[in-house]
């Protein structure tokens, strides 16, 4: 064991850093560990904003925020968790402002709030269109202020189980090479999403679901894994994100006939309907031949140059760089792309998993506040509120328990397995498996899902997993061996794909992001207002169901 701490946070995006700050302030010896430097985390790519009922732009209340979130989740969100999120959100946002977050301001100098999809009020606090960037940096400033030790460029690979509880992690030190074991009384997973399962994704290369897969491997369940959100406005060909803030500011979505087609899908909310609704509408337009080279058009021109330059400066930069389009003059071609995993590590409202000492927060967790469809602006809020809660609980637990031990056998097993991978010289390199996985997931497990395609995808994933058993790593060196870590990431992704397909096939209804237009086009509350719970037993995903927690909101028909 190289070192030990009270609390070890794996992943250093918004959830991870917020958790570490909270644990530190609770008096724990906490460390961060991340495969990339904290400010490189993908939370920084969040653009549009963070939802809290501050009431700065209208009369608003946590109650209303909660209702919008419950409805947005297509009634799959746990209502007790949603209530906590919405109640704690305002103070958590004030806290960020007090730490120095550079929020955009109203005329009277308060935090500005803009309308966002499926929200009844303008509730999304923002910093132009770089809100995530601003939050990542303000959190890192607070991490530096507290001098919280950070294992930078450490690739977390295996959780350490000892005495029936999680007591640390075994990680590959990217800069210097070698496996390092870091012991901890509590471990918080804050590793983000797994968008790299898809070829068209807003997610960074780093988003490979490491925490979810590591938890799965120590027997923790994953929840609602079929629920992958497709964001309606991503750029061809690779899926770079264009913020929902564009539509919040008033942008139109047009088809090839210059028609604001959403009037046929969401006549009231139009471009500010929920993401699942808009992505399906776009995909339908494209499939029925009213797309523009596989896209629809996001038109900002009527907003005018001033507003675009002030509030959507980053969007303009992205459009010009990656699409060659200046949104002041031309509409931006956009299409749905994989964006956010509502599903994740099964965790309670304190981030606790079924394994003692193991917590999860942020996108890698499923508490669940997003259910079957997340509202724009709720992800950043979740990272902060539930990051804080996990940090607090993990610190309290750690401070009342004493021992940490990483068994020698765990270390030697890990070393042996890694050596075996590195010494293999004959076989396939991982990239072709990676590309095939991402292409087929997009094709067969995308915006619309069909039984035969999901079945086929299950078989494809099984074959890819077999091929993965024989992959070869080109780089045998110790220093910055990203060839090795990318191979390990692919292993994580393949296991998650398996869980997603199994859950998707089992959910015989259409709810939120899981749309089965051919065989089960409507929601079935009687049978499926339940979470899918997947564990791996004998190397195969095993599925169970768990009822949604309801408090006061009865399911209604969902219209925008």
């Amino acid at each position: 064991m190289e070192a030990k701490h009270d609390v070890l946070v794996i992943g250093a995006g918004c959830a991870g850093m917020r958790a570490a700050i909270e644990a530190h302030d609770a008096g724990a010896d906490v460390a961060l560990l991340s495969k990339i430097h904290p400010v490189r985390s993908h939370s920084g790519a969040a653009e549009g904003g963070i939802n809290a009922a501050l009431g700065n732009a209208s009369d608003d209340s946590p109650e209303e925020h909660a209702f919008d979130t419950v409805k947005g989740s297509d009634y799959l969100g746990d209502q007790d968790a949603i209530q906590i999120l919405c109640d704690e959100a305002p103070d958590d946002v004030y806290q960020l402002e007090n730490w120095g977050a550079v929020f955009s301001r109203t005329e009277d100098g308060r935090i500005a709030q803009r309308p966002f999809g499926a929200a009844g009020e303008p509730r999304t606090a923002y910093a132009a269109d770089i809100t995530g960037h601003v939050l990542v940096h303000v959190l890192y400033e607070q991490v530096m202020k507290r001098d919280i030790p950070t294992y930078e460029e450490y690739f977390a690979w295996r959780l350490v189980m000892n005495d029936d509880r999680c007591q640390g992690v075994i990680a590959w030190d990217l800069l210097h090479g070698g496996l390092k074991s870091i012991g901890a009384k509590t471990v918080i997973l804050a590793t983000g999403g797994a968008g790299r399962l898809y070829v068209g994704t807003t997610n960074a290369y780093a988003c490979t679901g490491d925490g979810m897969a590591m938890a799965l491997r120590v027997g923790v369940a994953l929840k609602d894994m079929e629920m992958m959100q497709f964001h309606p406005t991503t750029l061809a060909p690779t899926g770079v994100l264009i913020t929902e803030g564009c539509r919040g500011e008033g942008a139109y979505l047009l088809n090839s006939e210059n028609d604001r087609f959403l009037k046929r899908y969401a006549p009231n909310a139009m471009e500010l309907a929920s993401r699942d609704v808009i992505s399906r509408a776009e995909q339908t337009e494209i499939d029925e031949g009213r797309g523009v080279e596989g896209n629809v058009l996001l038109d900002l021109r009527h907003l005018g140059a001033d507003r675009i330059l002030e509030r959507l400066h980053g969007t303009r930069e992205l459009s010009m760089t990656f699409a060659g389009v200046d949104p002041i003059y031309e509409p931006i071609p956009v299409r749905p792309g994989a964006h956010y995993h509502m599903g994740g590590v099964d965790a309670d409202v304190w981030g606790q998993t079924s394994v003692t000492g193991l917590y999860a927060a942020g996108e890698c967790a499923c508490v669940s506040v997003h259910g079957a469809n997340r509202l724009g602006g709720n992800a950043l809020m979740e990272t902060i509120t539930f990051g804080k809660r996990a940090g607090r609980h993990a610190a309290d637990w750690a401070l009342s328990h004493t021992t940490v031990e990483v068994p020698r056998s765990t270390e030697t097993d890990a070393a042996r397995d890694l050596k075996q991978l590195l010494e293999r010289t004959e076989g396939e390199r991982p990239w072709s498996i990676r590309d095939e996985l991402a292409t087929t997931m997009h094709e067969n497990f995308g915006v619309f899902r069909r039984e035969e395609q999901m079945q086929e995808q299950g078989e494809i994933v099984a074959r890819l997993r077999e091929r993965y058993e024989r992959v070869v790593v080109d780089d045998k060196g110790d220093v910055f061996n990203s060839d090795l870590t990318q191979a390990l990431e692919l292993g994580f992704l393949l296991e998650l794909a398996d869980c997603m397909v199994v859950s998707g096939i089992a959910r015989k209804e259409s709810r939120g992001a899981h749309a089965r237009p051919d065989d089960f086009p409507s929601r079935d509350d009687e049978h499926y207002m339940k979470h899918t719970i997947v564990r791996v037993e004998d190397d195969r995903p095993q599925l169970e169901w768990r009822d949604v927690t309801m408090t006061k909101w009865q399911p209604q028909e969902r219209k925008y």
Partner: protein
């Protein structure tokens, strides 16, 4: 801003060659290796590196993550100039047949291939105490009231993604590795300019010490190469202006700048003869008498008496007074100037563009039938 002129994404592929400086940390071996790749037309430098790593050589090392210009991982040099690999479209280069040379960023130790050790970079960021000092510990009940205009003062500095491109190109740091450098100083201004921070005088005093703001040589390479429009040199100028406004002028750099103002105000010209004593002090200036006499002998020094006063010196004084009256000294003046310049640049760029004829701004497009 240059527009990437490329065909419709995905319609074709391109062939290109590039040379990459490989560095093996374990053996210390350095080698410039050439790769030929086929890439989709939309490929960026980062995409091309991915193709090299996947299909040609898995040992190639570089950092990457977001591939959308926000995480700051992929700073490196192309043909000697720092770029973000994910922002650099390769189509034009491929068409020209040029073979770019890719190397790691400068001013930071190389770890392997295109990966540099960023710890000196982060050490300097930490040195500027990069966190808000609001003057109290407990959380205020709500947010602090700050106008958008006040927030705009630090808008550009808040865009910084800490990629290190400016540091890579910094000439001053090349000669003095201890120099705080453009990224850390821009971060410093992010707090000095923040209306919520209560420690601006202390911060300015720190930033005025050795290796601080006055060691910048004003080569403007940081502004030139910043991929996000942060303009670190302008942040350094704002720190200078704020320092002088606060009366923190002990550094020779500050004295030098102040003398420019004084001499422009009094005579409308730069009074060079007095520049050295005013900047370096009398004692130091006396030591340079021999050098000054040499200059004088060759006609390089104007006679100090009588002072050379410009014809329309009143204009220069009026300008000085106007800036004072309007409160445009200090950082705010520079910030306001930036906004005005931004508008001019945008309008100039817009001058060559025409609105798409089928749609007009402000008018909802006609609905199709059905």
């Amino acid at each position: 801003m240059a527009h990437a002129i490329a065909p419709v994404p995905g319609s074709t592929t391109m062939e290109l060659a590039l040379k990459i400086w490989r560095y093996n940390a374990e053996t210390g071996a350095k080698e410039l290796r050439r790769y030929e790749v086929e890439a989709p037309d939309w490929a960026t430098l980062l995409d091309v590196l991915d193709i090299v790593k996947d299909k040609h050589d898995g040992t190639l090392a570089y950092r990457k993550s977001c591939r959308m210009m926000i995480c700051g991982s992929c700073g490196m040099r192309m043909d000697g100039a720092a770029v973000l690999a994910c922002k650099t479209r390769m189509w034009d280069i491929a068409q020209s047949g040029h073979e770019p040379v890719i190397s790691p960023m400068g001013n930071l130790p190389v770890v392997k291939d295109l990966v540099v050790d960023m710890s000196p970079f982060w050490g300097k960021i930490r040195a500027v105490k990069p966190w808000l000092e609001p003057g109290y510990d407990e959380v205020a009940e709500k947010e602090r009231i700050v106008s958008q205009q006040q927030m705009n003062v630090i808008h550009k500095e808040a865009l910084c993604i800490m990629c290190g491109c400016c540091v890579s190109e910094c000439n001053s740091m090349e000669s003095d590795p201890e120099f705080l450098g453009p990224a850390a100083l821009a971060k410093g201004f992010r707090f000095v300019g923040d209306a919520r921070d209560q420690t601006a005088p202390e911060r300015l005093s720190d930033l005025n010490s050795e290796h601080g703001i006055w060691d910048c040589t004003r080569c403007y390479f940081c502004n030139e190469r910043c991929p996000k429009g942060v303009d670190p040199r302008d942040a350094i100028a704002k720190l200078g202006a704020e320092s002088i406004k606060e009366g923190i002028d002990h550094d020779m750099g500050a004295k030098h700048a102040k003398w420019f103002v004084t001499s422009a105000k009094t005579t409308g010209w730069l009074r060079e003869t007095e520049l050295v004593p005013k900047t370096q002090g009398i004692v130091s200036a006396i030591k340079q008498t021999k050098f000054a006499l040499g200059l004088a002998k060759r006609g390089k020094v104007p006679p100090p008496v009588p002072p050379h006063v410009a014809d329309r010196v009143k204009e220069s004084r009026a300008l000085y007074n106007l800036v004072k009256e309007q409160g445009r000294d200090g950082a705010l003046g520079i910030v306001q100037g930036e906004h005005a310049l931004g508008r001019i640049e945008f309008t100039e760029e817009a001058g060559v563009r025409e609105l798409a004829p089928e749609l007009q701004p402000g008018v909802e497009p006609p609905h199709a039938e059905g």
